[in-house]
Symmetry: C2
Subunit: 245 residues, 2 copies
């Protein structure tokens, strides 16, 4: 069944109001109308089954039929920090990180990032990436849309995170692959994984991360592209927390 | 350093001969010439460091300087069977499955595959996908390029594989997520994971798979796109076999 995130303020006790592009999607693309059922989420922990009750031009009202229990979130709050990479690859990272369960995505300009964002550019880009994340969260059955932000101060922006990791090709070259496994066995309540750009993180960046308690980890013996690393990490976390006994 | 797969017959005891597009890539794109070093692989278990010795128009000869030990392959032979999906997504699956360590990729027309291939079309498509796999294998440091084939008889084509799994959304809906973990603890020497198309595998397909000893598994509580499932599976396998103690 179709799923739509709405503003928390638009989900009441008995009714949900849907506005904007989703109205068009429901009525034109899905060709649904009064009496049809949809799933609505408030991105605040609430998922409900609702029946369309009123359809106007730019808004739609649905009566809440049932509260759903959504068990689709990873048991650990996982954030990904992705160095800026070329546009379409960044779209892809955001879509997949959402699909694979990330709770937050930080974008940052790494020393070796070829792509540069100014403040104005970043605002537009983030708005676009938020739409991609919303759609991916709806399609993958997530209870939350990951927060997406551009930061120039990654270390300071993530001090709340209990365990901070960064992907370190040097560990891989030394065949030292057990860092992630050992990290997860410390049972962190929240976790951040920093992914470098195509050229990898610079020595200076790694030094700063280490000075702030970040741990370098390997993702195995194969050289992963920048846009693949976060997906590998989230899959490994899902396997560890959700598929293992 | 740049890596190039060559025909086994082109790698001798002391010399490697490179032909075709790779010559252009080495001389024009990388602007390398006599005296420069490259890594060559014969897709047959051999990786060598070689120094360019002669450059002609359409061929290049490099002297073998050193035999390399390549440890980039998964300890278990993993094959992915991907139902036909739209072209660019299939390119992506092949690139990522190569990057993430698949030994073979079977493409098959699933009951719910929207895309259809005839024999002529499939030959062209496979040739194109083999190029994508070669490039991805070179970039990710693989020792082997995965075999890519289109089959109308998936069950018969994979009888040699010790453990055959298929992704089953029904298991996920029942919150029965430990199938993959349990399967890996049976220590199979070779493994196949079947991924359905956008609409998933049909009930009939699942029945046939079960009749032939395939096991249905869940990839966790989130709904993954068809093009994401193989990547999740390979990442989980890598974490299990390469990153865990």
């Amino acid at each position: 069944m179709q799923r739509y995130f709405v503003e928390p303020s638009n989900m009441g006790e008995r009714e949900v109001m849907i506005e904007g592009n989703d109205v068009k999607h429901i009525t034109r693309v899905m060709r649904m109308g009064v009496g049809d059922h949809i799933i609505c989420l408030n991105n605040n922990g609430r998922e409900v089954l609702a029946q369309i009750d009123k359809v106007e031009n730019h808004r739609l009202v649905a009566k809440i039929v049932k509260e759903h229990k959504n068990l689709s979130e990873l048991p650990v709050s996982v954030a990904i920090a992705q160095a800026l990479i070329k546009g379409d690859k960044l779209d892809y990272v955001v879509q997949k990180c959402t699909e694979f369960g990330a709770k937050a995505i930080y974008l940052f300009a790494s020393d070796r990032s070829v792509v540069k964002w100014d403040q104005q550019k970043s605002a537009k880009k983030i708005a676009r990436l938020k739409k991609i994340a919303k759609k991916a969260a709806e399609q993958s059955g997530r209870l939350f849309i990951p927060d997406i932000s551009f930061t120039s101060h990654l270390v300071e922006a993530t001090t709340e995170v209990e365990m901070r990791l960064f992907l370190d090709e040097e560990k891989a070259k030394k065949h030292d692959h057990t860092g992630l496994f050992d990290a997860l066995h410390q049972h962190p309540s929240s976790l951040l994984a920093v992914v470098g750009p195509e050229g990898g993180l610079s020595e200076q960046e790694k030094t700063i991360f280490c000075e702030h308690g970040f741990q370098g980890i390997s993702l195995g013996p194969r050289i992963l592209r920048s846009e693949s690393a976060a997906i590998y990490t989230l899959s490994a976390l899902s396997y560890h927390y959700e598929l293992s006994r």
